[in-house]
């Protein structure tokens, strides 16, 4: 059962890499397939960050234009195709957030209104529980609660150090320390699980 599941995951990864390769050759059908397979999860990710459906749609659209333009730059040796695709869309979302184009929407939009910090953290725990990778689950389990909360707030909501400090009511230096030490623990834990060393 587990082997079958692993085979399916590997097959899906190969499929995405193949679609991306064909996209780099300007194959529009392959690009559309790539979009149909990956866009729902990416839109879910962007929505959590910008909290506005209109803004998320814009970011998804711009992200896939970048993917179309730069598909030939993907190098399989650097990671899976889905990781490359996600990094393109997520970086674009972060750039937009930092440019504060959607800052107003993030504070006023009614469809995805900001919930309380407690609700958000609860949702993040659900997200972590849903993560399929045992390595990631185990790696997050070694973090202190403050480290996990600040890292997940940054990752899923795209918050800066300053924003996390403001939401958590903690000094900026303390938040930076939580994140820095938490990332260091994560790196060691994930790399050890994958058999990688510095």
């Amino acid at each position: 059962m587990a082997i079958t599941r692993l085979k399916k995951i590997a097959h899906a990864a190969d499929d995405l890499a193949d679609l991306l390769a064909r996209t780099s050759l300007r194959d529009q059908r392959a690009f559309q397939q790539l979009y149909e397979i990956t866009s729902p999860r990416l839109l879910g990710m962007v929505l959590r960050m910008v909290r506005s459906r209109a803004a998320a749609d814009e970011i998804l659209q711009a992200g896939f234009i970048i993917i179309w333009q730069q598909a030939g730059a993907y190098l399989p040796a650097q990671g899976q195709a889905i990781t490359w695709i996600t990094s393109i869309v997520r970086n674009h979302a972060l750039d937009q957030l930092r440019a504060q184009r959607h800052a107003q929407a993030a504070h006023t939009h009614d469809d995805y209104a900001i919930q309380s910090i407690a609700d958000e953290l609860g949702a993040l725990h659900h997200l972590l529980a849903a993560v399929e990778s045992r390595v990631l689950r185990d790696s997050f389990a070694v973090l202190e609660p403050e480290q996990m909360q600040s890292i997940t707030a940054a990752f899923y909501r795209g918050l800066t150090h300053e924003q996390i400090a403001a939401e958590f009511g903690a000094p900026l230096g303390t938040v930076k320390s939580w994140i820095r030490r938490g990332l260091e623990r994560l790196r060691r834990s994930i790399d050890t699980a994958h058999g990688r060393t510095e």
Binding site: A17, D18, Q28, R29, L42, T83, D95, I151, A154, E162
Partner: protein, 234 residues
């Protein structure tokens, strides 16, 4: 960059991927990534560590208008990036046969579709069992990239205990082993260098069946099953 503390590089890369940097810091980091491969590699490593976290995010189906807007932007009438018009350079291919040339271009049109007015600069091969039969396999590598993509247009039967090996052939030079390919579907070969270095003077691609236990064989041990020209598309 060699003088920069590796721990600091690691911290910058982690913070960039996590997303905690300010706009100015992110902009500076992107400049550094382009300038310093070490930082770029650390960023890729962090992406591989953290980005699988999105598998826990509930998917949301995009509205149809999002794809329609994307489709309008990638319309071939409006090239996404400036490319030189496709041109086939066959000066190196002295054994040219117009039939094969026609087959190559015809197959290229089939592969890339009727909308492809500007093809990316690539090395392309179309391989068949002999000159009179249609191609059953194609290869493509973008210029200066280090990956060769191989697609079988139909399954190729291989005896048990044998594997398919792709070779690059240059006149008066021993065939160069490129890598192992699958007998059906798509496969990908990581080249030992940029395609311009590997394929610059290559005239043909060929495929032979080699014993499974001869993984490092440096010369084909049997007749080629498939052969075809290596064409520069630019």
């Amino acid at each position: 960059m060699a003088d920069v503390d590796p721990e600091l590089l690691e911290h910058i890369a982690g913070a960039y991927v996590l997303g905690t940097l300010s706009a100015r810091e992110r902009e500076r980091c992107v400049q550094l990534i382009h300038a310093h491969p070490d930082l770029g590699q650390r960023v890729h490593a962090w992406e591989n560590r953290l980005l699988p976290l999105i598998s826990g995010v509930p998917p949301v189906t995009p509205s149809p208008h999002v794809w329609q807007a994307i489709e309008a932007r990638i319309d071939p009438e409006i090239p996404a990036t400036p490319h030189k018009p496709a041109r086939v350079s066959l000066g190196f291919w002295h054994g040219a046969v117009s039939l094969i040339f026609g087959t190559v271009l015809g197959a290229a049109v089939v592969v890339w579709g009727k909308h492809s007015e500007t093809l990316p600069e690539s090395y392309v091969g179309f391989l068949s069992a002999d000159i009179d039969t249609p191609p059953v396999m194609h290869t493509s590598a973008l210029r200066n990239e280090s990956t060769l993509f191989v697609k079988m247009m139909g399954p190729l039967e291989v005896e048990s205990g044998y594997m398919l090996v792709l070779w690059a052939i240059q006149k008066n030079v021993a065939p160069r082993r490129i890598g192992i390919i699958q007998s059906s579907g798509s496969s990908r070969i990581a080249l030992q260098g940029p395609s311009d270095t590997i394929f610059k003077n290559i005239e043909r691609f060929a495929v032979s069946a080699e014993p499974d236990n001869a993984a490092t064989t440096s010369a084909p041990s049997a007749d080629y099953l498939l052969k075809g020209p290596c064409v520069k598309l630019w």
